[in-house]
């Protein structure tokens, strides 16, 4: 099952990247850099999905105390932090030539950055607690707090940037919805989601093996 996932995601990724960097039309004003916009939103999307999974698995763990739920949360956090980092990086890479700066406190970027910090905090907590059962419980609580906090983060950051201030200049390449642009985006969205699922499955399996060895 995991194997199939691996193959599927590899194929989808291959197609998606080819579409994004090869087939899709070259954007006139921003040039080839704009192609990152086929990759950046999917990465950000997965970053949030991964966090939602961490939250859901955390709740599941607290309710039933099943180790599998904890492994899922842990794996999703590790893969999630990776995707979040990539999302920030691609956003930055796009931003430099476009805005002239590597970073800006735009609402969306800021939210993703906060998400990244939450992930890091979660993983730090995990690594600091030796007792596996305690680590699972505490991380579950943290996961839930952080996840329920995200909507609050969104609103506060958005209001912080947009109220009484000129609206953000960042628009992801100005998608007008034409098929030539939409397809690469959607394919990459699916591809990255599959990749995420594959990586989480592999990681969770690895965790089970690691922990099984100790038990």
């Amino acid at each position: 099952m995991v194997r199939v996932l691996g193959w599927l995601s590899a194929m989808a990724l291959a197609i998606g990247l080819v579409l994004a960097f090869g087939v899709a039309p070259r954007e006139t004003s921003q040039g080839n850099v704009q192609r990152i916009m086929y990759v950046h939103p999917p990465l950000a999307w997965v970053a949030y999905v991964a966090f939602a999974v961490v939250a859901a698995a955390s709740i599941a763990y607290l309710v039933r105390r099943r180790p599998a739920a904890d492994r899922l949360a842990h794996a999703s956090a590790e893969v999630g932090v990776l995707f979040t980092g990539l999302a920030i990086a691609t956003g930055s890479i796009w931003g430099k030539p476009t805005w002239g700066t590597w970073w800006t406190w735009d609402a969306r970027l800021t939210s993703v950055a906060i998400l990244f910090v939450m992930y890091v905090g979660y993983l730090l907590l995990r690594s600091t607690i030796e007792d596996r059962e305690r680590a699972a419980r505490y991380c579950a609580v943290l996961g839930i707090v952080a996840a329920l906090d995200m909507p609050l983060v969104h609103f506060s950051v958005y209001w912080w940037r947009t109220l009484h201030q000129p609206p953000s200049l960042m628009k992801p390449g100005g998608f007008s919805g034409s098929p030539a642009i939409l397809w690469p985006l959607l394919v990459n969205l699916a591809a990255f989601t599959l990749l995420y699922a594959y990586l989480v499955a592999k990681r969770a399996r690895l965790l089970r093996a690691e922990r099984g060895a100790l038990a």
């Binding site: 030796e130 007792d131 059962e133 100790l214 038990a215």
Partner: protein, 239 residues
């Protein structure tokens, strides 16, 4: 059912990481019965006690107290037990009386001033009631911890070396208190290091060695010498 043991451990294992502290421990303590648990340093006696007290969870195995599962019904178990571990559960900046007042109120029990004073008097701390615990010696703190126990009437008492650091009078008092507890049908699981008269209150002796119960026998007619010999024979830590 009066024949069911009040405390029952079945095949309990406890690992701390890669270290196995308890390896398939099974033990029973019945109504009105006192079991003294002996063992060398690091044998796992305190760990076992804490598992029964729901402070720790077993890695595998079943623990029931008063018919309740110590893992799944931990809160219900807590209402049935009185626990005195190594720590005295005292706040140094509070007075002796205030300490008792805190623990009783937290347990949902409204104890009157008279009851608190009586509890302190039982362990001869009544004159130090208004003194801050910071000024107490270690022995006094232990006595305060025991005073706390007298304010409750749990079905099960779990004590970790309760006689340690007590003088003769206090030891005698504690013996009497534990005997009354048993007479009321209470069960007692006591971790102890000594072979002296403290064991007098025990009905059965168990020795924990190598993570297992090496011996579980009625105290009966065993005198301290017999005990020492058995202990030396069974435990890894030569007494």
């Amino acid at each position: 059912m009066t024949t069911d043991p009040v405390i029952r451990l079945s095949d309990v294992r406890k690992h701390f990481g890669a270290q196995t502290v308890l390896d398939r421990v099974s033990l029973d303590v019945g109504r009105g019965e006192a079991l003294a648990l002996l063992g060398g340093n690091g044998a796992g006696k305190t760990t076992l006690l804490k598992i029964v007290a729901t402070v720790l969870r077993p890695t595998t195995g079943q623990v029931t107290v008063a018919g309740l599962d110590a893992v799944r019904q931990a809160e219900a178990v807590r209402a049935q037990i009185g626990f005195a571990g190594h720590g005295a559960w005292v706040y140094d900046d509070l007075t002796a009386t205030e300490n008792l007042k805190f623990w009783t109120t937290l347990a949902g029990r409204a104890a009157s001033e008279a009851e608190l004073t009586a509890a302190l008097a039982a362990v001869e701390l009544d004159r130090t009631g208004p003194a801050r615990v910071r000024t107490f010696s270690a022995g006094m703190k232990r006595r305060l911890s025991l005073a706390r126990l007298t304010l409750f009437r749990p079905a099960v008492l779990l004590l970790d070396e309760p006689f340690a650091g007590l003088d003769q009078r206090a030891k005698k008092w504690l013996e009497g208190h534990l005997e009354s507890h048993k007479d009321r049908g209470g069960a007692l699981l006591m971790v102890t290091h000594s072979f002296g008269r403290e064991l007098g209150v025990a009905d059965r002796i168990a020795i924990l060695a190598g993570g297992r119960i090496a011996l579980d026998t009625p105290r009966g007619n065993l005198d301290p010498d017999d005990l020492q010999r058995l202990y030396a024979a069974h435990s890894e830590d030569a007494a």
